[in-house]
Amino acid sequence: MDALVAEHLTKVYRGRTAAVPALDGVDLAIPTGRLFGLLGRNGAGKTTFIKIAATLLVPTAGRIELFGHDVVAEPRAVRPLIALVPQEGRPFYHMTPREHIVEYLRARGESGSVARGRAAEIIGAMGLTGFAEEPSYRLSGGQQQRTLVAMILATEAPFLFLDEPTLGMDPFARRQVWEVIRRVTAKGSTVLLTTHYLDEAEQLTEDLAVVEAGHVLYRGSPENLKARVGREVRLQFSAGVTAAELAPFGRVLTDRGRSVVLTQRGAVRELTQLALERGAEVTVGPVTLEEAFLELVGRGIEEEETA
């Protein structure tokens, strides 16, 4: 059964001078219990989709259901089933992380003992113990973000919307958050996650959609997306090897001033030989989701510009 079904979902914002389309007929279904990634560039329509699904925003056209309830017509039936980490949210300045979790859970109807128990559990799991009793104005930006994410994940709501939940967190904190997200998914929650960290999407999601300019460009697993690139490995070269020399071997990209080629396994020997001749360093690894994303969205942009 699908937890979320969107059909021809459309949203057009009224701008000062013209209408601004944000979603253009999005069709998307997210199975129950899935950790689902929604990827796209800034302004692609991810947050608009989440806002509509989380009952914050009314769509211009189309239909969206959550656990069989019409999100537009039955928001009161939907809201007990959801929780949301908003993009760039911040906690209350005067409350501690523990108070955030306990008070939010109690406001949602949980008993005091359940709220305190879940707070203790998630504070430990998300590495908040050292500052659990500090008011949030004393916390760093990353710690504040962790507080907000902990507050929402502790709800264990059937459907969790996480809009860039690890923004501003250090790599250790991100991994702790990932672990808790996996845990709540294992307990039965369905999670819709947006992120610009594609390593995060690769680590966490088993299923994803890529949106660009309000359209769904891709829907499937991260592995299939990488397979669509049509290349098996990436080789990154230090200075000394030019893009022109790499072009015959596959798709050439530039990453922080270094040439990268996406190619087949059979070309690795020849390319490493080339690097040795030039005295260049070469790093060999699998094609990443980031490259697959850039390839897909880049092609999408080209097609749109051509049209």
Binding site: A54, R90, P91, A107, G109, F161
Partner: protein
Amino acid sequence: MSVALQFRAIGRICYFNGLLPLWRSPLLVMAVFLTPFSFLFFLFVIGASTDSDLFPYGVVGGILFTALFTGNGMLNDCAYLRLERQLQQVFVASPVSSFAYVLGMALSELAFTLPALALFLGILTIVHPITPGAFGILVGVVLLTWLMATTLGFLISTLFRQLREIWPIGTLVFSSLAVLPPLFYPIRAIPESARWATFLAPSTFAGQLADWAVGLPNGTISPAPLGSPLVDLAGLAAATLFFALAAAFLARWREP
């Protein structure tokens, strides 16, 4: 979520947005108290130099000013939580109803002002002793005024997308309701032919009703029904109902 659970949500929001910051930063009470007390101080100085007894009017004005400025607090808090912290969105996407959120926030604003209200009431009982009945009516007027102001504050908070746009609007609206109308001074200070115009601000009904309840004389007001306590009560109740309904139907809990 059941009605009982919505009431629990109201209590929790009042606790963590009102009582908790009050407990942790008691100096916030001073901020609430300072502006109306400054007006009262001026009235005391003017009264001493002109031999007029404006002070009891000023104390009643201070009580109503404090109740009205819960609306400004509501406006700023709700706008801040929605636009700056994105926390209203966290409550929209939850079983907490818009009614529970608004009432919880409004009660938290009232909690902030309770010490100041108690202080003004204490001053009033010293300078102008009142009966228990008058005290009851005054409390009723304060509650209606609080409800009117906070629902108006919430409504305005949802209509804007920038905090910088909201700040001047709050000052404009609530100063117009709390400073200009005859709350700190008797309506007889205004020329008789223009007194009716002060009722365009619904807070005038509150001021007149409160003055009547505590036994402070006011001048005649025409046309005739104005100036009657029953009309004042009806006017205040109607304004409160109007803003509550406007907030219920026009405030943007979910954005269009």
